[in-house]
């Protein structure tokens, strides 16, 4: 399709599309519209380094505004898109303005899930998605530190655990309340959950499972404790809620694009409208077997972004590589590749106690995913093994003296 190209959402995926269009030698107009006031920035450090070191905001930049300007990418910040007019090929802005497109890319990201609980609106209760959220959490952690007040984290997923680890490093007493029976249960096997739980416990973080929250209690409008359905009270100087996100497909679905918990795209990032592509957290990818795959990751934003840019230029660049993710907690480096759902066998490699091991997930004898805890070489080899559809034998996996990378060179 022909330009001008308009990209709604100035995060990782949006910036990638703009840059890839230029790399693919498209020289026409590109407008990159962001709802936030900040220039495009990296989100992964927000739960970790950013809270720990409080670096200047500019150091989080994906691309600085000047760099985008040099490539003649028209960055419009603090700009809310309220509708897509598919007949007129325009997006409608909150100020009533309209921007015409020849091709449109939606990179609208995801929104935090919230807790439908009494007290959820109290001051001192946070979710983490944006720089502004992180600045607020940083200030609240400072308050916890100076008042010797504990942090309560609701949700034992990646974001919650990363914030717990960061706050613990800062010297704050931390309790994590998880609704299910183990950490990160949606993504990793029990053996991995247990290893990560041991690391948190060793750092003095309190972990409670199968907790049903009844309410957040407040004093003078600010949160002071979390009360469980069982009647227990956990005092809190602040509360971070990390219970996941919902893809932001509101614009797309209002415009009649096919959506199902995300904007449905094919492997080339194309939506049900031939003039519209989508990439990143807001999408649900239809795979060749018909199933929908939702990924929330930097890799997905970048790779779908590249696919989306190609699609805007009428080319096909399918994204089919094995998905990978990471999480840093204390000195533990958790790296995951592949999708482990439906595994029927796990083979481990390394030291479970330390922990420094990898869990290799197999289904019907075929390798489908690998979770590595402080086992970087295993992770990097696993990315390639999975991309090539290769499965080492159980004996090769378990034998640390065997170099799994040698299979790739054979």
């Amino acid at each position: 399709m022909a330009g001008p190209f308009v990209i709604v959402g100035a995060g990782q995926a949006g910036v990638q599309i703009a840059e890839s269009l230029r790399q693919e030698k498209y020289a026409g107009p590109i407008t990159l519209i962001g709802a936030e006031a900040h220039a495009p920035y990296n989100r992964p450090p927000l739960s970790k380094r950013f809270l720990l070191d409080r670096p200047e905001l500019a150091s989080l930049a994906i691309r600085g505004p000047e760099a985008l300007q040099r490539r003649q990418i028209d960055l419009q910040l603090h700009t809310q898109v309220t509708a897509i007019d598919r007949q007129a090929h325009q997006v409608v802005l909150a100020n009533g303005g309209r921007v015409s497109y020849g091709g449109l890319a939606l990179t609208t990201g995801a929104r935090l899930k919230t807790l439908p609980l009494p007290g959820a609106e109290l001051a001192g209760v946070f979710g983490l998605r944006t720089i502004d959220d992180a600045l607020n959490i940083g200030a609240a952690l400072d308050h916890c530190l100076s008042a010797a007040a504990p942090l309560v984290v609701i949700g034992g997923g990646f974001i919650g655990l990363e914030i717990a680890a960061t706050a613990c490093k800062l010297g704050i007493e931390v309790t994590v309340l998880e609704g299910l029976s183990r950490l990160m249960s949606r993504v990793v096997a029990p053996i991995v959950s247990e290893a990560v739980a041991r690391v948190h416990a060793a750092h003095g973080v309190g972990l409670l499972f199968d907790v049903k929250i009844a309410a957040l209690e407040g004093r003078l409008g600010a949160v002071s404790a979390v009360r469980t359905a069982a009647g227990q009270l956990y005092p809190a100087g602040c509360v971070v809620v990390g219970v996941g996100v919902n893809p932001d497909d509101s614009l797309a679905s209002a415009a009649g694009l096919e959506c199902e918990r995300g904007i449905i795209v094919d492997e080339c990032a194309r939506t049900s409208d031939p003039l519209i592509v989508a990439a990143g957290d807001c999408t649900a990818r239809r795979r060749t077997d018909g199933s929908l795959l939702r990924l929330e990751s930097v890799q997905n934003a970048v790779e779908q972004g590249k696919s989306a840019a190609a699609a805007l230029l009428g080319r096909q660049r399918p994204f089919t590589a094995a998905p990978w993710f990471w999480s840093d907690q204390y000195d533990l480096k958790l790296q995951m590749v592949g999708l482990s759902q439906g595994y029927d066998e796990i083979v481990t490699r390394g030291n479970l106690e330390q922990p420094a091991f990898s869990a290799y997930y197999l289904r019907a004898g075929k390798l489908i995913a690998v979770d590595s805890l402080s086992r970087i070489a295993d992770h990097m080899n696993a990315r390639k093994l999975l991309d090539r559809g290769m499965t080492p034998t159980a004996a090769q996996i378990a034998d640390e003296a065997f170099d799994l990378g040698s299979l790739l060179r054979a």
Binding site: N42, P44, R49, A61, R63, R71, K333, Q335, N381
Partner: protein, 110 residues
């Protein structure tokens, strides 16, 4: 930019770009923010994603501390050729000793 140091970046197509990077920033943060081509993304300098593979020019290598084991392992199986100067840009902290550093970025990251 106050306290900025010069780094000479060679983009995948051979174009040389001189960028200013603040003292104490990582090579990755500075080069990426200023739009140097050849960098996909970043994990926040945590050495977790392997998308910051770059080649440090031979005459500068001796001024860098040796790469940590973590960083060396992250460079296993990266898409572009491994060379003596292969490093992860997020693990190179720009200081006065590295003012004028020359570094090249490969065509593909992962």
């Amino acid at each position: 930019m106050p306290g900025a140091l010069q780094v000479n970046c060679i983009e995948p197509d051979g174009q040389r770009v001189r960028v200013q990077i603040s003292d104490g920033w990582s090579l990755m943060q500075g080069a990426r923010a200023q739009g140097v081509q050849g960098i996909d993304a970043e994990c926040g300098g945590a050495c977790s994603c392997a998308t910051g593979h770059c080649y440090v020019a031979a005459d500068w290598l001796a001024r860098l501390p040796p790469p940590a084991v973590n960083a060396t392992q992250m460079l296993l199986n990266v898409a572009a050729e491994r060379r003596a100067g292969s490093r992860l840009g997020c693990q190179i902290r720009i200081t006065a000793e590295l003012d004028g550093l020359v570094v090249e970025f490969p065509e593909r990251q992962v």
